[in-house]
């Protein structure tokens, strides 16, 4: 075992994983937020009630969500090539990860927004606040604490996705563990990747919990 060679490889794999997770979180986090808010506000009895839009969004989410990510990766091959220009590497993985994560984010956002007391929305309406402003200045701030926890949970899911993307040559810790560890029957290398992932996840979870606690003042 030559850690003088593997060490730097592990380091750059960690960097790649962080890059993929961060970009995916940013993209899927934003698009998913929009879709999730869309689901929430168009739901029956809500401020922008619209059965057609709700049904379309809901179907879309239900269509993509159950697809196992490893299969989604393969199925999106052509689309990835068309958009990113290649099926390999971190950017190709980010494309598939963003699609997969967006709909998970959407559901989590929708569920967390549903915990907002309809009474405060009514109060804002009674003040003559526009519906857009109600979303940005009432609904989202009121749900911020749970949303942070939801996003924390998602970071872990996205990290999991990035490891799977290693299977299609995305690089990162998943690739490191599979190629240099699993395929060479070298458990030590596999476990090195596992430990780094555990540390990353712990850090994210710790930060997410801390932030949510601060927001919810608990």
């Amino acid at each position: 075992m030559d850690w003088s060679v593997l060490g730097p490889q592990l380091l750059s794999a960690t960097g790649e994983t962080l890059y993929m997770v961060a970009v995916t979180l940013l993209l899927a986090g934003f698009i998913g937020l929009v879709v999730g808010v869309g689901l929430y506000v168009t739901r029956r009895g809500n401020i922008l009630e619209n059965t057609a839009v709700f049904t379309a969004l809901n179907l879309l989410v239900n269509f993509i969500r159950p697809i196992p990510f490893i299969i989604l990766l393969a199925a999106l091959g052509q689309a990835t090539e068309a958009v990113v220009g290649t099926r390999l590497g971190p950017n190709a993985a980010i494309f598939a990860m963003t699609i997969g994560a967006t709909f998970a984010v959407a559901r989590i956002v929708e569920q967390n927004l549903m915990s907002v007391d309809p009474g405060v929305v009514e109060a804002a309406r009674s003040m003559g606040v526009s519906r857009f402003k109600i979303i940005t200045t009432v609904i989202l701030p009121e749900a911020l604490g749970p949303l942070v926890l939801g996003y924390t949970f998602l970071v872990i899911g996205i990290t999991d996705m990035s490891a799977m993307a290693g299977a299609i040559g995305a690089g990162g810790l998943g690739d490191f563990a599979l190629r240099l560890g699993y395929q060479r029957f070298n458990d030590e290398v596999t476990w090195a990747a596992v430990i780094v992932i555990i540390i990353l996840v712990q850090l994210v979870q710790f930060f997410g919990n801390w932030l949510a606690r601060k927001i919810m003042r608990r």
Partner: protein
């Protein structure tokens, strides 16, 4: 109902109905939450709407600021038609109408000062103006020291005071109070009602108050409407409604706080102890029951007060007494006739 509508009218209901359709296609369910209501709410008054839960009073108040659209009829607030307006068109009207709620509906993500400031931010006030107004309102509701606290650090009464301050922020003409004291204990209720009275008397803001407690009506309202299954069954000044309740629902509400009329099982007990003819006599400060009764004593009629009470409201006294009359049949009959000339008399069935 008479057309007394004038410039003094702030809210004008004309044949207003609100229908909810629900259930399934096969078994549709239509609920007349508000049924053909015609009502005028006058500038400067505290107008209470009382009814049991499900009577439609909460819906009625939500029609005023368009939180629920009306199904038919017409509705004006301060000269503006509320019906047929979109959410965007309603915004300027709503800014002139404050609203407070049973569950307070404060923004948990904002401090006390932040809650009060919020409507001002949305209305585009400058930071200096907002700060000045928030300070003023905090002082008015007596929560200056609590400015930086979050709602969960406050008691129920304090939360409602924040709700009131927030509702008053952009100087509304009208304040809608939806069961604003129902989540509070009796002492805190009085404190909040006292504040609402100040809002009305000192700031001249008209208040429409929804409640299911007659005690709330008695302590604060100038006029009251009684609702039952979507209809307004009785409207009048609070003292009139208490003194001469017309509708059955109203009588039940009045007796819930007055308890001057014996219940069924109490009548039996009263009869056991008082063998004479039992009558229920309404007492108000205009009638002179005492003088009639003392005259009757000369005809050999004696009376005993078996049940009842007299109370005072808006400096008028009223109540009901259950009297047991004894004496020769014709003299007793004569007494009843003479009492009927001056007040409402009901014979208790044997």
């Amino acid at each position: 109902m008479t057309e007394v509508s004038s410039e003094r009218t702030l809210v004008r209901f004309r044949d207003v109905s609100k229908v909810y359709t629900g259930g399934s296609k096969r078994a549709p369910r239509v609920v007349n939450a508000v049924d053909n209501v015609t009502l005028d709410i006058t500038k400067g008054e505290i107008f209470a709407v009382i009814g049991y839960s499900g009577a439609g009073k909460s819906t009625l108040v939500r029609l005023i600021n368009g939180l629920e659209p009306i199904s038919s009829g017409s509705l004006e607030v301060a000269g503006n038609r509320v019906d047929g307006k979109s959410e965007t068109q309603l915004a300027p009207i709503r800014r002139k109408i404050g609203m407070i709620f049973q569950q307070f509906n404060l923004f948990n993500s904002r401090t006390v000062a932040g809650n009060i400031e919020y409507p001002l931010k949305r209305a585009g006030w400058s930071p200096e103006e907002r700060k000045r107004r928030v300070t003023e309102l905090l002082d008015f509701v007596g929560l200056t020291e609590r400015a930086k606290n979050y709602p969960e650090q406050l008691s129920g009464g304090q939360k409602q005071r924040v709700g009131i301050a927030r509702a008053l922020a952009s100087n509304p003409e009208l304040l809608l109070a939806d069961e604003s004291t129902s989540a509070l204990d009796p002492e805190t209720t009085q404190e909040v009602l006292g504040l609402l009275k100040r809002v009305n008397r000192e700031l001249g803001i008209t208040i429409v108050l929804i409640t299911h407690e007659m005690d709330v009506v008695r302590s604060i309202a100038d006029r009251v409407a009684v609702m039952d299954t979507g209809r307004v069954v009785e409207v009048g000044t609070t003292s009139d409604v208490f003194a001469y309740p017309q509708a059955e629902t109203t009588r039940r509400f009045v007796s819930s706080v007055m308890r001057t009329v014996p219940r069924e099982e109490e009548i039996a007990k009263v009869r056991e102890e008082h063998p004479g003819r039992l009558i229920l006599v309404d007492v108000t400060d205009q009638n002179r029951i005492g003088s009639v009764l003392s005259e009757c004593a000369r005809d050999g009629v004696t009376f005993e007060i078996a049940f009842g009470g007299i109370s005072m409201l808006q400096s008028r006294s009223f109540g009901t007494l259950t009297l047991s009359l004894n004496g020769p049949d014709t003299a007793v009959e004569n007494t009843i006739v003479r009492l009927r000339e001056i007040t409402k008399v009901e014979e208790v069935a044997r």
